[in-house]
């Protein structure tokens, strides 16, 4: 059987519910066939609306949605060959697990024997065989989630859309079901589009992470790109793991520039992707929290470090394999160092200590 392509292209997609404000505002995006794509952003950023437009539950006000080379705007979900897994699952409460999963085949007019056989095969795939005759209310959250996944996957869609699929689960289960989603996606070999507001979930799962804010895409790319090389302050802060500092450019010298700060030395930043910076510009930079080293005043800085900012320790949180040290380095923003556990306890700090926060010059990243 020839598998249909499930690549998606969004071209200038806009959606407005009231005719005044665009909830989704001119989104352009290309998602490869068989990719696992995560849309991430705060609530109200339009990510769920995009998902619902791809699913066919909402029509875009403007723009085109192309799936497998075919413009699907105006088509019903069945014609698009998409399937959606709803937030809190929307399982039919009066139908058993087997009937829930077989529902789509039933309304497609498949014979009872055929559809129950197909449903049972799918039930086995999601490891629910012993629960096949139960009602959804008699299942745990994780089991319900698997039913929802099986119900969506049984029609062999070319795109599976998941609306915050893990948000109803507790932490431990979430990690477990995350794996299950990824496994199913690889097994089915179809495009998954997953909406979430949890950063870890997005970067753990996705081939393509799409960060959104107020109806616009802020950055789209592989998980590592988005996490390690955020384009701007918003993405850096939203994805987390970064300290964002800002200041005026004091001088530009060749491949780097110096950012004026409270620190006597200023902060040296490599230009990297940013090609033009002139003296006087206000620039944001990001430094990964795990790149920050803490040195007691008067001691030598580690090699490669030119910047050191005197800071006071505000709070310390033990996180297991690292220690989270919160500092008052930057007046208004939070500044955090993730110190490896062993390093920290070799010479532990206490709250109120003055330390020098430093990092290798090359690890500072100028933001747009």
């Amino acid at each position: 059987m020839k598998k249909d392509r499930g690549d998606i292209e969004l071209a200038g997609v806009c959606k407005s519910f009231d005719g005044v404000t665009n909830v989704v505002d001119g989104v352009n995006l290309r998602i490869a066939d068989g990719a696992y794509c995560c849309f991430i952003g705060p609530s109200g950023c339009g990510k769920t609306t995009i998902l619902r437009m791809i699913a066919g539950h909402e029509d875009p006000t403007a723009g085109e949605i192309v799936i497998g080379g075919q413009n699907v705007v105006g088509l019903a979900p069945v014609q698009r060959r998409t399937a959606m897994m709803f937030q809190s699952y929307a399982l039919f409460p009066h139908l058993t697990v087997r009937e829930n999963i077989a529902f789509a085949l039933r309304v497609r007019g498949q014979s009872k024997a055929d559809r129950l056989r197909a449903a049972d095969a799918m039930i086995e795939k999601v490891r629910l065989t012993q629960f096949a005759d139960r009602l959804p209310a008699q299942l745990s959250g994780g089991q319900q989630q698997r039913v929802a996944l099986a119900r969506a996957a049984i029609t062999e869609p070319r795109v599976l859309l998941l609306d915050e699929p893990l948000s109803a689960l507790d932490e431990q289960l979430r990690v477990q079901m995350r794996q299950e989603l990824r496994r199913m996606q690889q097994e089915l070999g179809i495009t998954f589009i997953h909406v979430t507001h949890t950063q870890i979930e997005a970067i753990a799962l996705a081939d393509l992470v799409v960060v959104m804010e107020q109806g616009k895409i802020k950055q789209a790319g592989p998980a590592r790109d988005v996490y390690a090389h955020p384009h701007d302050r918003y993405v850096a802060e939203f994805m987390g793991g970064q300290n964002v500092l800002s200041g005026r450019v004091e001088k530009v010298n060749g491949a780097s520039f110096v950012l004026a700060q409270a620190a006597p030395s200023g902060i040296e930043v490599p230009l990297q992707a940013r090609s033009t910076v002139s003296v006087g510009d206000r620039v944001d930079i990001a430094v990964r929290r795990d790149d920050v080293a803490l040195v007691r005043p008067g001691r030598d800085l580690p090699p490669g470090c030119t910047t050191s900012l005197p800071s006071r320790v505000l709070a310390i949180e033990y996180q297991g394999y690292f220690v989270k040290v919160m500092l008052d380095t930057v007046p208004d923003d939070e500044f955090v160092a993730y110190v490896p556990e062993k390093t920290f306890f070799a010479d532990p700090f206490t709250v109120g200590d003055v330390v020098m926060a430093t990092w290798a010059t090359g690890s500072a990243l100028p933001l747009a």
């Binding site: 069945v78 529902f103 209310a137 969506a152």
Partner: protein, 292 residues
């Protein structure tokens, strides 16, 4: 709370919780039923006087009368017709209000509009059919004027048709309310999930909405069936005396002071109704559906 610590106090609290209901049910429901039950076993002197005792004569009389069966058949006919029409109308009105009126305020407004006929009395509502259905009524005049008929239709008023129309008019709201209630609790996401799976509008109604409105349909059915089976007034007025029902027969009995026979008929009807209602409850677990 730990009931084991002080069982008598917990018991007292339990009784206090149910006391309001008991205070209402005992004098207004249990006591009258017991009085009727007792009266059905009494003998009568034929002039309204009752002789306490135990005789099955009244039951024997009621069960051996050919009229009883005829009346039950007539009543069941009215009940089934009324139930069918109120169910169809009630279901679709509720369906429209819940799934097609997007604005919730408007839906509640329209819902209240359904109750407007109840701002006036039962009798007025029945009488108001006369100008419409009567011999000189609007319908007959319209049909005569358009030449569809030459003689006014007599069947419209003071007939079984008129009885059913009046019942449907009065009782549809008793279907709408519980069905509306159970439909309103259906998560709209379920409908969307069904659409996503490729279900047609008819599939959604058949496979999702109807099964999930079962408790409302059962409740409405109980209301309509028990009201129609326990009514004589509408039959009397709207049939023009041409038809009778079970209750109208024992109303006549009371009129001629045959209290024990009337009481026996009442007990019999109660038993029939209890049987019908338990049958409904057996098909639909209302308690489970409501607490779902």
């Amino acid at each position: 709370m730990q009931p084991s610590q002080n069982p008598s106090r917990a018991n007292l609290a339990g009784w206090l919780y149910v006391s309001p209901l008991v205070l209402v049910l005992v004098p207004f429901f249990v006591a009258p039923i017991l009085v009727v039950l007792a009266a059905s076993f009494f003998a009568t002197d034929g002039f309204g006087g009752l002789t306490p005792g135990f005789t099955l004569a009244s039951y024997f009389e009621v069960l051996h009368s050919a009229l009883t069966l005829k009346l039950y058949l007539a009543t069941i006919k009215f009940t089934v017709l009324t139930w069918a029409f109120t169910l169809i109308i009630g279901f679709f009105v509720a369906y429209f209000l819940v799934f097609h009126v997007r604005n919730q305020l408007l839906a509640i407004g329209l819902f209240l509009l359904c109750t407007v006929p109840f701002w006036t009395s039962n009798i007025i509502r029945m009488i108001s059919w006369i100008p419409l259905l009567g011999k000189e009524g609007l319908i007959n005049q319209a049909l005569l004027a358009t030449g569809v008929i030459r003689q006014p239709l007599e069947v419209l008023l003071f007939s079984d048709l008129a009885v059913v129309i009046a019942y449907v008019h009065q009782l549809t709201i008793f279907m709408i309310v519980p069905i509306f209630n159970s439909m309103a609790r259906i998560d709209k996401k379920l409908i969307e999930a069904a659409i996503d799976a490729g279900a047609s509008r008819f599939d959604i109604m058949r496979l999702i909405v109807v099964p999930m409105s079962k408790s409302g349909i059962a409740l409405g059915t109980i209301f309509v069936v028990s009201i129609v089976m326990g009514d004589f007034f509408v039959v009397k007025v709207m049939s023009g005396g041409g038809s009778a029902s079970v209750v109208s027969a024992f109303y006549e009995d009371v009129g001629v002071l045959q209290y024990p026979t009337a009481a026996a008929s009442a007990v019999l009807l109660t038993l029939v109704l209890v049987a019908i209602i338990s049958l409904i409850l057996r098909t639909v677990d209302i308690r489970q559906e409501i607490t779902r």
